[in-house]
């Protein structure tokens, strides 16, 4: 059952389901990280997964991006059941991600880092590239253009040629977003994009996330534990606690959900 297209208050179009998680259970030995969770992600929406520390949010993101393989449950992507895949195969299917602890190529420049994001789009064979002629050259130019556009969009032109290792934390996060965006993903996964940022940087990052979604219509799934930020950003929110789903809905629905309030504020045991 696919929900009808809906138009949000600010005029963005939310389409059908692109990804659906069905009864996902993930165990590490005896520890259950995710317990029987189901939810879906719809085309063009900003979908947040929130929860206290250790709730299993990052594990869920790692399941989507193929870094972890759940023992039970199914992942459906673009209407098809996805067989167990390696992370690079998931990336080639158009699911790009960022990492909580930033995984950039520190020794490479910002431009080169973002160019690696185009890996999926570049088709020229090994031999054509080895001799660097014809189609490979044209392809490099075309992809370079796309990358420059993204660099402009995220306002990191001034550091294009800087090795990433020299950048401050906030900018690294933005470069990582740029690299993920360069893949023109059908789903963009952001693992705590605001973690460790000051208020100003958080505002910048929120603006970029909204702009990306608005401008390119990119479907975004993000993890965050800062409730305030998430409520302002997202269309729908999944709330996790101790590996279980305790809430799912619009920010307003989630905000008034008693289980969610208990999980975040603690509950008196008497």
């Amino acid at each position: 059952m696919v929900p009808e297209d809906t138009i949000t208050e600010d005029g963005r179009k939310i389409g059908g389901v692109v990804m659906e998680m069905k009864n996902i259970t993930l165990r590490f030995g005896g520890v259950v990280a995710i317990k029987d969770i189901s939810f879906d992600i719809r085309q063009g929406e900003i979908r947040a997964i929130i929860g206290p520390n250790g709730a299993g949010k990052s594990s869920m993101l790692n399941v989507i991006s193929g870094f972890y393989h759940p023992q039970e449950g199914e992942v459906w992507y673009q209407g098809k059941r996805r067989p167990p895949m390696k992370p690079f195969e998931v990336a080639q299917q158009g699911i790009a991600r960022t990492f909580q602890n930033i995984a950039l190529f520190e020794g490479m420049t910002v431009l080169d880092n973002v160019m690696t994001g185009r890996f999926r789009q570049m088709k020229a064979g090994l031999f054509a590239q080895a001799i660097w002629k014809g189609s490979a050259e044209a392809e490099e130019m075309k992809n370079r253009e796309a990358v420059e556009k993204i660099i402009d969009f995220l306002e990191i032109q001034h550091i294009r040629k800087t090795p990433v290792g020299r950048l401050p934390y906030g900018l690294k996060k933005r470069v990582e977003l740029a690299r993920a965006l360069a893949a023109e993903p059908s789903i963009l996964l952001l693992d705590e994009p605001m973690a460790g940022m000051n208020v100003e940087e958080k505002e910048d990052m929120s603006r970029f996330i909204l702009d990306v979604n608005d401008e390119f219509g990119t479907t975004i799934a993000l993890i965050e534990h800062d409730m305030g930020v998430v409520m302002d950003l997202s269309d729908r929110v999944v709330v996790m606690d101790y590996g279980r789903k305790i809430g799912d809905g619009t920010p307003d629905e989630v905000r008034t959900n008693q289980d969610v309030i208990d999980a975040y504020l603690g509950v008196a045991h008497d």
């Binding site: 390696k86 992370p87 690079f88 190529f105 890996f119 080895a130 893949a183």
Partner: protein, 328 residues
Amino acid sequence: MPDQLLFGMEVVLNGLMAGVLYALVALGFVLIYKASGIFNYAQGVMALFAAMTLVGIMEGNVPFSHLINAVFGTQVHHFGWQVPGIAAVALTMIVMVALAWVVNQLIFRHLVNQAPIILFMATIGLAYFLEGFGDVMWGSDIKKLDVGLPQGLNTVIDDLTYGLFGYGFFIDNLDIVATVVAALLVGSLVVFAQYSKQGRAMRAVADDHQAALSVGVSLNFIWVMVWSLAGFVALVAGIMWGTKSGVQFSLSLIALKALPVLMLGGFTSIPGAIVGGLIIGVGEKLFEFSVGTMVGGATENWFAYVLALIFLVFRPQGLFGEKIIERV
């Protein structure tokens, strides 16, 4: 011009060309180290193995003939054909790619995220295995390699310099060829690593496995590619050294000469391997020429290592090595 100066110039020229050959071997180390953090002790043996395979294919020898004859009591040695140089080089390259694939599949794929010392030990194991394997496959006798590269005194340079200075420079044709080939090889490798999709992926894998996976790079593919490239460089080095001094066990020891080159140039830099090789090549020839005679010669054996030690003290990352940036 004084004789001493002319002779010195000739020494420098010869040193430059010897340096290019060192650089060729060092290049193989750099490639693998850059992309997988593995210090490949087997690089020298790979050059030996490539040269042996090349000779074996050219002469139409039956691989494993000793083993086959011993087991089945047959007397096969030759297929009875000769393969021309170019075709044999191509066939050898296919063997080297296959070797790269097998090495990755059987060894290094299973050692991902292991400590560098473990990876290093694995390459030592690989080196000794490959050495024995090469002997069983092609026999351990000293072989002559001739793929048709020009050899001997370059008469043009000899005549030219004789006409100019009244003193003919002795430059070996093979050295000239090696220089040109090495220059082309390095140039194309730099461009490949810097500006192509796979080259970028290679650097990406070297930098961060997780991040590389997340942009869709297959680690296995890149590793096989890098080992194949190292195999290719080993083949080129094997051809040059094999033509120069015959295909024999000592060929694998040229790898030891590459160590000081790497310390000078930096383990992570392709141009560094070249400049390091040239400095060592020229340095040891000049040192032998100027100081060696005073101390009884044979300085070429240790000069490179002492130079490398001095470098280690003052610039541990080498001339071109990536600066170690650490944010706290």
